[in-house]
Symmetry: C2
Subunit: 392 residues, 2 copies
């Protein structure tokens, strides 16, 4: 069954729905259409509601091949029902039905009318490469850690990372505004240290501090970042709200690196929540992630390589006129895995190695240098192996 999309501007969500309660898939999909919009029994609606096409509308239902009870269902909603805001978009696509069963968000398509709501990354892959002056290899990134060090200690660590030639230094996502290293003192000391090294080496190492606080403090922190010349931040959309991240994208010129902290329950059921590629890929990119960190397969977390691939694909494939974002596989990565990571993610990725640099020994400058050199070497090998035949 396929219904033609009406002339009024609508966006479309693809859900995977498992229908196991005796209800027909059509009835369950119809229930979702009402639940996510008018939230009343159909008998309470007037002709106006249908004329104005306010309820969700089933655009397509198809059984997933080889499944018994699993369907791909496309439902469309009128653009204006999201109030042109990110939180209300989420409310519309998954608010109440998050409390139901067996409904998983797979993908979405939005018309130009929502371009200002979802601008996508400000810098994107090319923009960040320009900022750094680094091309033809994956970017390197490491983390200031562990929480508990003083601002001075973190700044000295940052200097060593910058001297080692890393592209991006981020805070560990657990370092925010603790009394061990208050936000203001920390970011001032760290950016000073990084700038000093940059002016010596001529490189353009960037520092992305972690922001995670309540709105009043957060907005002061954002202003401070811009004031002191910080070019980008690390932030976890599920902790501060996706609308907060979208607003930073729209109102500042800070690059945004997103962290998946607190997002995990969306992936804990194969039949409910959201696909990895949707939430950490498409959605985080649309709200402004220039870089999306996710737990790489074979690290400390439970994502498979196939799931990671859906994230990196969603970040980089065309989506309207939006820029592409860097996938940043992380979470227990090691220098000895770089070759394999390049095979999986290619050149346009950010490789994050945190703890493993600390484990390697005390001379952080040297171990960082080894990390950067390994990426350069493996990238050259990869390019040679994948170059057109005549160039080998």
């Amino acid at each position: 069954m396929t219904v033609t999309i009406s002339s009024r501007s609508r966006f479309e969500i693809d859900y995977s729905i498992t229908c196991r309660n005796g209800q027909s898939i059509f009835d369950y999909a119809h229930e979702i259409c009402l639940e996510q919009t008018v939230e009343v029994p159909e008998e309470c609606l007037t002709k106006d509601h249908f004329d104005n096409e306010i309820p969700g509308k089933i655009e397509k239902i198809s059984q997933i091949p080889d499944s018994i009870d699993n369907y791909l269902v496309t439902i469309s909603f009128p653009c204006d029902i999201c109030s042109y805001s990110v939180p209300q978009f989420l409310n519309t696509i998954y608010g109440n039905i998050s409390l139901k069963n067996n409904i998983k968000i797979i993908s979405m398509r939005i018309p130009d009318e929502l371009n200002s709501v979802f601008p996508g990354p400000q810098f994107g892959i090319e923009g960040l490469r320009m900022l750094l002056g680094v091309f033809r290899r994956p970017l390197t990134c490491t983390a200031l850690k562990p929480v508990g060090l003083s601002a001075q200690e973190l700044a000295s660590m940052a200097a060593q990372f910058a001297n080692g030639g890393v592209d991006i230094i981020k805070d560990d996502h657990g370092i925010t505004n603790q009394p061990y290293a208050f936000f203001e003192e920390r970011i001032k000391r760290v950016i000073d240290a990084v700038h000093k090294v940059n002016s010596k080496t001529g490189r353009k190492t960037l520092y992305f501090p972690m922001l995670n606080d309540e709105p009043e403090v957060l907005s002061k922190q954002i202003s401070l970042c811009s004031e002191i010349g910080i070019k980008g931040i690390l932030i976890a959309p599920m902790l501060v709200g996706c609308g907060t991240v979208a607003s930073i994208r729209k109102t500042t010129d800070l690059a945004i690196m997103t962290h998946p902290s607190f997002a995990g329950t969306f992936f804990s059921s194969s039949e409910h929540g959201a696909m990895h590629g949707f939430l950490l890929g498409t959605f985080f990119r649309l709200i402004g992630a220039d870089i999306s960190i996710f737990p790489n397969a074979g690290g400390r977390f439970r994502f498979t390589q196939a799931e990671c691939n859906t994230i990196s694909d969603s970040l980089r494939k065309p989506f309207g006129n939006r820029k592409s974002s860097f996938p940043a596989p992380a979470g227990g990565m090691r220098i000895d895995r770089i070759g394999e990571m390049i095979e999986h993610y290619g050149m346009d990725a950010v490789f994050i190695i945190g703890g493993n640099l600390l484990v390697q020994g005390n001379n952080l400058t040297n171990t960082t240098g080894m990390f950067v050199e390994t990426v350069q070497k493996k990238a050259s090998e990869y390019q040679l192996a994948h170059a057109p035949f005549q160039n080998r």
Copy 2:
């Protein structure tokens, strides 16, 4: 195994952990302690880290009776690691481990040091009863709906609800700032309509508009509410961020009614996420919910009565010096279920009937009156049945 809590102020989280990957429960719990704080292998930590007691600490592990591989594990964290902010508290207790397996938050205990971070409700059950002048029965609440009506139509509906004697009129949680009824026009028209009826009837019906937007718009909406005499709001913590709700609690004198929209993935696995009573009960209460809406058993959603009971218990049982919050069972409730709902939730609850009032017929004043009368009647019967013997 029980370790005495150290003298430095720490908060405690109880997790239910299912250990199925061959790891011992002690090893998995220890991994969580590091993952949620220092996020480096133990060999990278200095003596200072342990002296300062920064890593998470296993306080207690006990096997859950009659289970094979399921343990109750208490882990403590130093208070200052949460930066005295709600988003960083969530980052600490469930940030990265949300991306692991089989870890469910059950309950928590916090020392006085975190009282200002988690003040609890501003009004609470007694405060809201004082505002309304309603005692000795559950409160009644209904919803302006469906989305798509004009501000004028919603205001006329509100007048009928108020004339019918309902205590609280809330927006449907999907009505935010759509062009059909923009926020500012809607809340001005509705509060005017409600005030007019109140001045005629002498009742104190309250109107709680739904707020769900990006930070800049949201903060203007909050100011507007206070300016025009609105006493409370409806908000979904998982959509705008729990820190945003906490901040409204701390910086305004608006009563807060929380909505569970977008929270469902925390409950979709029995082994991962959070217990119903923790998130929609304890946690929403701590960040300031005077009323917490949840989908009642037997409605359109999947919560069981036992799960709903954990929510209502967590909202009302003692938690430090904090006020109690109203449980608000909702989601497809009907007038004919009021007796049963009183049996389950007692007097200190808010009963929300939305769509069912619309279904009953066109005269909303009458159907609302029937709802209110039924609650009064069933409450009297309940009190009589449960009164001490000599008073019967």
